[in-house]
């Protein structure tokens, strides 16, 4: 599983971090950092939920 975030769309509102903090982090500088671009399969459900709940639809999961 590979995660791609479209930074032109992302608004750093950190919803994804609330769901999968192992993978997404919005830091004090207000930027979103992907902590793990190829997270373990065990995180798939959380990552999919993050993608679904991203208000800007900025997260894509490749395979």
């Amino acid at each position: 599983m590979k995660i791609v975030v479209d930074y032109d769309l992302c608004e750093s509102n950190a919803v994804c971090m609330g769901i999968a903090p192992e993978v997404f982090e919005v830091r004090d500088d207000d930027f979103l950092y992907i902590l793990d671009e190829n997270p373990d399969e065990s995180l798939r459900e959380k990552v999919e939920e993050s993608a679904r709940r991203c208000p800007k639809q900025a997260i894509t999961i490749v395979d």
Binding site: N13, A14, G18, V26, D28, R52, P55
Partner: protein, 402 residues
């Protein structure tokens, strides 16, 4: 029992997420999605923000999941307004007199903007909910900037005011209360919103109400008379006076209605009937109160919860409560506002981060030893950390560490 046919009423955020969740749970039977509109609704938040400003185009307004309808094997029926339902024999009646039966129903009919009943419909008077309304308002605001009156300083009204100012319009915002958001949040938040708008050139009139619109001979808006008798000239008037849940079609059906569809803590309203999104009112045990929430993230999350609840009901399972920590955002001028939780106006607002003057801060809302919510301005991380902590405990010390 395994359900052979499920009807979802309303094909917006909550309805589509419910459909997705049914399929993800492995339910493969006949899924009918009924939508009153002649096309799928669009994603609504940009309508008061980027779409009005002209920075978000219509192609970017597609709802998440809209492109998955075929893959999810959904029998989507547009122009299918449901007019009635009988909970005893599980039949829904459509506006065109067609009838459909099912074994489970998911109510996702959302809410509609309030209007002022005694006012005529007139060119220049707008509400904002769907794409057509947004397109009309966008066209009106794309004209040579002049004067707009926004009625109501709630989130949608405040966003429209912000967008109209950015487009160069003179904006007057009329609010009956003595601070914005007075009925939902502690007054410090309203004071911040009032300052934000005034410092950006909005003429905010508090303790003020509208009486009647003033129309030209040809029925076009030329202004509005206020409750105190004074008159304001304007070419555009936007009503942002809240929304009402779309429950009318369920009156007399046997499905209980309160301030929305009256659900138990699992989002079940009657045997085989669940509700989600703006229309659902339920008991949230985490906060110990009944709530109905008009927020994007709630529509997504509750859609899935309601769908899974329907399936578990069919299995004779008691289900699990929907224990959401609500979260929403609103963009006004340079303030990106996010709030987690469910505070009340009586809660004590404690500044927990930054300073209001700097434009980056967060308030925690304290009730006894509990934190009922956190509102952050240009501090998204703060709001989400609070949301994560609140999911476990509402104890103040747990949500707002030293």
């Amino acid at each position: 029992m395994s359900l052979e046919k499920i009807l979802i009423v309303g094909a917006s955020l909550a309805g589509l997420n419910a459909a997705k969740a049914l399929r993800e749970a492995g339910w493969q039977e006949h899924l009918v999605l009924l939508e009153a509109g002649h096309e799928l609704p669009v994603d609504r938040p940009p309508l008061s923000k980027g779409f009005l400003l002209g920075t978000t185009e219509v192609e970017r307004l597609q709802l998440p999941l809209a492109s998955e309808i075929d893959a999810l094997d959904i029998d989507l029926r547009l122009n299918a307004r449901v007019e009635g339902f009988a909970a005893d024999d599980f039949r829904v009646k459509l506006e065109n007199d067609d009838e459909l039966s099912a074994e489970g129903v998911i109510v996702a009919t959302g809410s509609s903007p309030r209007r002022i009943a005694s006012w005529p419909k007139a060119a220049g008077i707008f509400v904002l909910r769907d794409l057509a309304e947004a397109q009309e308002l966008r066209t009106a605001l794309a004209a040579t900037p002049s004067r707009v009156v926004v009625v109501g300083a709630g989130f949608i009204g405040a966003e429209v005011a912000s967008s109209a100012r950015a487009l160069g319009w003179e904006v007057t915002m009329i609010e009956v209360a003595s601070t914005p958001l007075q009925r939902v949040l502690p007054s410090q938040v309203g004071a911040f919103v009032a300052d934000l708008h005034r410092s950006n050139g909005v003429d905010l009139r508090l303790n003020s109400g509208v009486d009647v619109p003033l129309l030209d001979g040809d029925g076009t808006l030329r202004g509005v008379r206020l409750a105190d008798g004074s008159e304001l000239e304007c070419e555009v008037l936007v009503l942002g006076i809240g929304a009402s849940p779309n429950v009318e079609w369920l009156r007399g059906s046997g499905v209980p209605i309160s301030n929305g569809i009256c659900c138990d803590e699992t989002l079940m309203a009657a045997p085989g009937v669940v509700a989600a999104g703006d229309v659902a009112e339920w008991f949230n045990p985490h906060f110990g109160e009944r709530m109905r929430i008009e927020q994007w993230d709630n529509a997504v999350e509750s859609g899935g919860v309601a769908a899974r609840r329907l399936l578990s009901w069919a299995e004779g399972d008691p289900g699990e409560p929907y224990v959401a920590v609500p979260w929403f955002w609103s963009d006004q001028f340079d303030a990106k506002i996010q709030m987690a939780g469910r505070p009340a106006p009586e809660d004590e607002a404690v500044l927990i981060d930054g300073s209001v003057e700097s434009g980056k801060f967060a308030y925690g809302f304290k009730r006894g030893e509990r934190c009922m919510g956190v509102l952050a301005v240009n501090r998204p991380r703060r709001a989400i950390l609070a949301r994560m902590a609140m999911a476990t405990s509402l104890q103040w010390d747990a949500v707002v560490p030293g």
